[in-house]
Symmetry: D2
Subunit: 319 residues, 4 copies
Amino acid sequence: MKKIGVLTSGGDAPGMNAAIRSVVRCAICKGLEVAGIFRGYEGLIQADIKPLNHRSVSNILSRGGTILKTSRSEAFMTEEGQRRAVEVIKTNRIDGLVIIGGNGSYAGALALSKKWLIPCVGIPGTIDNDVNCTDFTIGSDTALDTALGAIDKIRDTITSLERIFIVEVMGRQCGYIALNVALAAGAEQVLIPERAYDISQMCQEITEGYIRGKASWLIIVAEGVIKAHELGEKITQCTELETRHVVLGHIQRGGSPTSKDRILATTLGAEAVNALIKGESGVAIGIEGEEIRIAPLEEAITKKVLKTERIYNLIKTMS
Amino acid sequence: MKKIGVLTSGGDAPGMNAAIRSVVRCAICKGLEVAGIFRGYEGLIQADIKPLNHRSVSNILSRGGTILKTSRSEAFMTEEGQRRAVEVIKTNRIDGLVIIGGNGSYAGALALSKKWLIPCVGIPGTIDNDVNCTDFTIGSDTALDTALGAIDKIRDTITSLERIFIVEVMGRQCGYIALNVALAAGAEQVLIPERAYDISQMCQEITEGYIRGKASWLIIVAEGVIKAHELGEKITQCTELETRHVVLGHIQRGGSPTSKDRILATTLGAEAVNALIKGESGVAIGIEGEEIRIAPLEEAITKKVLKTERIYNLIKTMS
Amino acid sequence: MKKIGVLTSGGDAPGMNAAIRSVVRCAICKGLEVAGIFRGYEGLIQADIKPLNHRSVSNILSRGGTILKTSRSEAFMTEEGQRRAVEVIKTNRIDGLVIIGGNGSYAGALALSKKWLIPCVGIPGTIDNDVNCTDFTIGSDTALDTALGAIDKIRDTITSLERIFIVEVMGRQCGYIALNVALAAGAEQVLIPERAYDISQMCQEITEGYIRGKASWLIIVAEGVIKAHELGEKITQCTELETRHVVLGHIQRGGSPTSKDRILATTLGAEAVNALIKGESGVAIGIEGEEIRIAPLEEAITKKVLKTERIYNLIKTMS
Amino acid sequence: MKKIGVLTSGGDAPGMNAAIRSVVRCAICKGLEVAGIFRGYEGLIQADIKPLNHRSVSNILSRGGTILKTSRSEAFMTEEGQRRAVEVIKTNRIDGLVIIGGNGSYAGALALSKKWLIPCVGIPGTIDNDVNCTDFTIGSDTALDTALGAIDKIRDTITSLERIFIVEVMGRQCGYIALNVALAAGAEQVLIPERAYDISQMCQEITEGYIRGKASWLIIVAEGVIKAHELGEKITQCTELETRHVVLGHIQRGGSPTSKDRILATTLGAEAVNALIKGESGVAIGIEGEEIRIAPLEEAITKKVLKTERIYNLIKTMS
């Protein structure tokens, strides 16, 4: 192994740059060359590639986003697209790939490694923390703190105006951010894809609370469950109380990564290079407790089951 | 003058607590008692009043929101509501009022002072910076920095994904936040109520930019101009390029105030007490340059004209 | 068990308020009364106690410090002091105690539970992360991010001025903060109590770097190893290069807790109440991986061994 | 005028990058070329120069420090050094210079313009806000907010531990940061170079406060007055109370600039280019109220007098 490629794919996540930096510096330290592949699989197909050295990744550790840019590639989902990608890999004498991204990115890595026999190692980079075989994905800690910081600000208004506020956070199929930020922000209610919810029950609690003088409510909802404004309208219909809603949206993807995300990214980046050097392929690197875990991509790609019981009950107890 | 009342009204703004603290401590220092009126004019009508002392306002200087809570009172817009408010003021032996809020709150203060002869002094507390006879309102500096911090995070994704992003900021009739944050964030375009805009012209620029390789755009829009998602749809129709939108919403109202807002709030709070003691009524306290300005509420309440030329041109030059 | 007491002791840590809130609300939820003991063991001896209810702990979740205040009590280290404390406990009909603090606080809890047979449960609250039988202590995640934020700012000047900067972080006997923040901030060197260091070797690297054009250095040092200004003087003597130093100091103890610290504090607070109810005493609550761990205070109090190898090597590889 | 040079000199300040970006983009917009001079006057002497274009300054608006790096040049204080600098300017066909820095940097600009007849325009970039002919210098707003953020964290511990804390902020000859942050942070005392202070009087107040139960004190001191640890020792000697001290140091120089600093920097950068084009030389650009002010460097360089009365009295009233 003389040269490895690195790319970021899917939605960007804070800490992706820290992972790139780690891959580059660790590889160079081990005597490898590094090819930076821009714009994910799309750039791989189009041979949008530049060599990266130690200095290329100076001053990126603290920055959100990804200097390699990212995309979702439809072309790469086709046989033809993958064939072209493989040609580019060979033409550029790339001996192995580190792929930083979420489940969709892992699916691409799986195809490249299994079908086209390109050595590929995945690193979990997504704010959603919905990748299996790892306790945490790169970016999820930062996204939580960003959402929390925003909700703390909204809380000032909730308390001052005494209103019902609904805050929609990211998470189409996974309630990780919603559940955790609800506990951290002291929310009264949380709606996540993993648990059934009962709006009329919630409205009854709101009405009862209102009667005994509780007029401030913070309800967190994961985007995959119901749109914030729809939930607000239903609550107003049922309780005759005004509601306000905020959709946090893309602010959750950006920002300077937390120490935890930088350390995780640096750790996993280095381990990915080590794994490639050791001849691993078709695997994903993760962390469980204090231990590094190397798992088959097939397993990492299966749906992660979020344990919700303990945190959900705590939210109820605290509110 | 033996006892003054203080209330916050309208939307909450960071620094309102700093202003309350200043009013209370300055008044006590001058030998006055202070009555804290809760929930704005609504609480005044309902006699929701508690005495405040030096310690009541400990540890609030750094906090967003208002410990006095706030509201928009419909009752107070009626003659009957105002009459009841005046009775409450007299029953509680309140000799003068400090009112912290925006134009709507000033209108209430004007009625109380002119029609009902209650000594009233206003302090401008609103994130919109749309109050006349002052360079800045309490909360506007913090709101700008909050919006900027959020947009800086979104910029990470704009750059990584190379997309057109539309960010909607607060400002129904005033483009202050939009204009300033657009310059501070390095936006390519800004839409504000004070200036006409031309979507087809904008789309042409986007298309031309796209052809020469510029795929990342940040467009800031004040909420009063057009909804972010509508603008996005129009741009997509016209350019066939994908857009994303974020509505920053209520995060702009909260958070710990900046040093500038705390200093402004503390300064204006003290001057309001001084003005009441000197026998002023029906006036608003503001700051122009380094100087305190005391202006009639009638004048403060007139529409503030935002100078847009220099900043707008700078945005164009920088993009 | 009808009434429990809760106190914070030792240095304050972000998240202590979240833990207090959790203890109070969880206890009330289970039908218990809660006595808030102020100023740690000192306040216990002096019977500085007030009842806490659900509303007493509103709006404290996001705040640094501890509403119960804290202290280091010399009186409590004496038999006489402990005897008085026990009397106060009995007089106030307190059936069990939750103690939030570090190793010193645990020692007090151990004495109370073993010698005086007062049911006591400890929760690890200290920024140093030097308490055994838990992966993390409450406050350590926030302290890391605070230190990182400060160092990121210093990095701007390091890069602009091209200087050697030495940053001293907290950690008298434990290099946890220093080691982790060094990796997260991309430091070139780190000095921690757990590892020997060689200044002449370091100076040689600095000199060699200087010759090949590397003039910016960030060196992190734990306070227990060497004072930052002394290290700076030694480096200047040896390399003839200017150095600058910053001692981060007490900013590392304060601030709004991160989501991780709030979740940890809320979780451990609830588990402490559960443990008391179940009849546990002389134990400390901790978290290992995703699991709650209940360990004897004797074990929790033993010196925690920090694993340094992997992170230290990563710092070297990245620099 | 076909080509202008731009350099940053002296201590770095947040917003310098925003000013560089503005100079570059404004100059290019007007058809000029731009030479970036690295490491201030030192780099000018050594011809450390690279052309800058529109893209060179992408993504720097939000960053602290200066991409042009900075230094304090002893060589440039000599006739010989200046002569070499002038040669470099001529050899590189640079027709005018924009100099971003504080009083020392302005002195250099004055020499170049008056003695060597090089067209020079200064922009005030320093956190100290000690440059004349402008209300604000670039970086001072950010430095205030950074100091405030750090002190807010320390306040958590002050309140929790009930101690006397002394915080030393930047300002060798100017109390601007100390005075303003003391008001914004709610400090009990402030020591600045512009005002005499009386330690025994202060100690008497502390002792009297201690007797009536006030144990928490925050004292802000500008670095030019007395070292924080010395002040702490004197207070302890006099009052027999423990003190703690923190020296904020270089964290005050870095960090992402506030919106106000970015807007100021962008405005002044553009005006500097305009001034050069109009044939101005030996002048400094500043802002007074809402107006741009162009003043002779001789005047800008004279000692700025800080008005302290109003804020100092407010601090006393509030504490």
